[in-house]
Subunit: 446 residues, 2 copies
């Protein structure tokens, strides 16, 4: 009975996303949504709506040039719904999951705990919405002077708001193609205000609301944080710092980047390090990167952000769990620990499953697109990593792709956004009763 | 106390490999080992000896042109020691591992079981050596007519033997560079005898001796086989058939391959499908492959052969365990099953660790070499995958690499060969006593 209900919840969420995407597609098909005459085709609209709701940011048309203000507004709303939808859903699951554990441990206290956690969900959802609005408005205010100077007051206000929402939700949509198509933030590469504001919004949105809850509750008492928050903060710091060092000392030291000033190089290194883990803006021309740089970006895109946030990818916690598990295997320790807390075998299985799933989908998609389109494999893998990690960076091939390839990207985006939830559901829902327990048999691996 | 002994066993094995490699290097440095005047340098000899003992097959010099008959003989002996060494060691571990499980389950029967399994090891080692000799001689006999026709009786005999040993041990060394440097088996692309014999030797050597034991004991009664043997046979069949279909229908259907006859195309498809999973011969010019084809080869190289064999890579069983685990997670089944047998959580952890370890080493090595040498990343990843999977295929960059890059390849080859054994040891040796059992805490992954 319980099993059935959980399965239905997941169906409801998938269906919810699907309906939002479909509604968005229909709105974007209206002639009023586009600047040119006629309207967007269904498939173009579907691709754009999927990209927006899944906060990916892959585009067939430059947002600012192709879509009208109405179309842009629809896209912003889709981004906000998609971003917050996943967050609230996954927070609710995390809370219910806590309830489930409490239920198993202390079945007599079931009702009380349940009530407490339903209260927790309501409280948390309120906290999420308030925080989102405050942070997005603050970000918009910070960017307003720059956009106001460049585009005038009204357009500047719209630009500030749109980019704050897009950055906080890690969507990667931008309106700066008015200067040159698909230029993203390259024209602001030397502007510290835009760079730092956008980076802050991305990181804030990407570390997840449970982490924010810890920061709000425990302030600087790091020791009191949830183990998960400690893991997220540590891994996120490393995944920002290490690639930034690579970009500064290896990538941007090449002759072709000699036009960069030192401050621009520092900003560029950090920005290109922050953005692939699912934001999807860029301040340098990505096609100018070395192949090693492109590959590092692919790895970062697959890695993604943190759970319970607007970010996609296999998540920082998954990476941490896998490395901790590997460490404990090599050390021949019986259990996997993180920050003095034990991690369950189920969690490790799930982490391995997620890694495998992402690898299989990303590689299969990339190879298929490369075979069908005759495009270099590295560009295709960049594209599929971007889609499944809901990043939105591209080496410029999105617009050239045929129908089948676009469909692959749509599926990868959708799966990258809601696919992970299946596993979270698996973690909290009751397991199937085992009708036949098989005897254990040894198998040698490695 | 027991922990100490196991750790020492591993040290002994690593040291054993190291001593064999070093002795081989010194022998190859002798002036008599090379055709030209002087002798090989230490680093060239070390690279070649490591490549031979780790049955990899990456070469700095063409084996037939650079090394004298004495040098070639040394290389063949190193291949045989390396190949059989790992097999007997891993069989011994598998047997001891069985004893360990028995010991824990039925401690009173300890001595009896122990005796039985030590007997098992002796019996198995004998079986391995007999089977190896019989199969290698049969293979040599099958190829002798062809090589005798082409090179005369004496040289033909030597060639038959060398290639039989190299193929059965999945080493990938060949002597056909006499025709043109590094040409591998391309000059025999249309010869069914050579193709089929080499393929059979590769597959026979690559499925592992425990599987052969099952085949010998239970003949066609597949149901009585070990679960591991069933997994190995199933995964191996799929990993030969599916890439062969890709090569036949996609890769070799391109215009540039139009010179191939149908029989050549069938042979070539199967050969290029069999060889990357650690054999390392090739019958077509690999630099002519499409990028997607190269990438599929990289995946096959990383995958590798089966445990308890001469093959390297992350192994067919590891892949099977990971997919079964993922399947059970998605189906929300409480346990992971393969062929009606349960797989332990420890095994799944080990499989995930192996996948992670191979990915990290292969990617890090590839990116480092690409940065240092300025070679396209795909070529570098092909090279590092080839090294860590002990395959030996190359897109031709091995000879161009600098000192640091060669050192990376040496480390990857050594690790690809003996690194996996650390984990096998971890699986059977006692776990560290847990001084502090930490409380479990939930962490969300994916
Ligand atoms: K994005
Ligand atoms: K090999």
């Amino acid at each position: 009975m319980r099993k059935k209900r959980h399965f239905t919840s997941f169906q409801i969420i998938s269906l919810g996303f699907f309906i939002v995407i479909l509604t968005g597609s229909l709105l974007l098909m209206l002639p009023v949504s586009t600047n040119g005459p006629g309207g967007a085709s269904f498939w173009d609209s579907l691709f754009t709506a999927t990209s927006a709701v899944c906060v990916t940011g892959l585009m067939l048309h430059d947002t600012a040039q192709y879509w009208s203000y109405f179309g842009q507004f629809v896209i912003m709303i889709l981004i906000q719904i998609g971003g917050m939808g996943v967050v609230t859903v996954s927070i609710a699951i995390a809370m219910l999951s806590g309830r489930k554990i409490g239920l198993m441990q202390r079945s007599t206290m079931c009702e009380a705990i349940s009530a407490h956690h339903v209260g927790g969900i309501v409280r948390m959802t309120g906290f999420i919405l308030r925080t989102t609005i405050i942070i997005e408005l603050t970000g918009a205010a910070a960017m307003f002077p720059v956009f106001c100077r460049d585009f005038g007051a009204v357009k500047g206000l719209w630009y500030s708001l749109f980019h704050a929402v897009s950055a906080f939700c890690n969507a990667g949509f931008d309106l700066l193609g008015v200067r040159s198509e698909f230029s993203s933030l390259t024209t602001y590469a030397d502007n510290p205000v835009i760079n730092i504001t956008i980076m802050t919004l991305i990181v804030t949105g990407g570390i997840g609301f449970l982490t924010w809850d810890d920061i709000k509750t425990h302030k600087i008492h790091l020791k009191k944080y949830r183990m998960q928050s400690k893991v997220i903060l540590t891994v996120t710091s490393l995944l920002i710092l290490l690639p930034a060092l690579y970009f500064y000392f290896v990538e941007f030291s090449a002759d072709k980047w000699s036009g960069m000033s030192v401050s621009e190089r520092i900003l560029g290194s950090f920005f290109q390090s922050v953005t692939p883990r699912t934001a999807g803006f860029n301040t340098v021309d990505l096609t100018m990167l070395s192949e090693a740089g492109v590959f590092i970006m692919i790895i970062l895109m697959i890695t993604g952000g943190s759970p319970g946030s607007t970010a996609g990818g296999i998540k920082t916690t998954t990476i941490a769990v896998l490395f901790s598990s590997a460490f404990s295997v090599f050390r021949r320790k019986g259990e996997t620990n993180c920050f003095h807390r034990r991690i369950s075998d189920d969690t490790i299985n799930h982490a391995a499953t997620i890694l495998l799933m992402y690898l299989v989908l990303f590689l299969t998609g990339g190879i298929a697109i490369s075979c069908m389109e005759g495009i270099p494999i590295l560009d295709c893998l960049f594209e599929t990593a971007s889609a499944i990690g809901t990043v939105g960076l591209t080496l410029g091939i999105t617009t050239e792709l045929g129908f089948a390839s676009r469909l692959i990207l749509i599926v990868l985006m959708f799966w990258g956004r809601v696919g992970g939830l299946t596993l979270v559901f698996a973690a909290i829902s009751g397991k199937h009763p085992d009708f036949a327990k098989f005897p254990m048999e040894k198998i040698t691996v490695g």
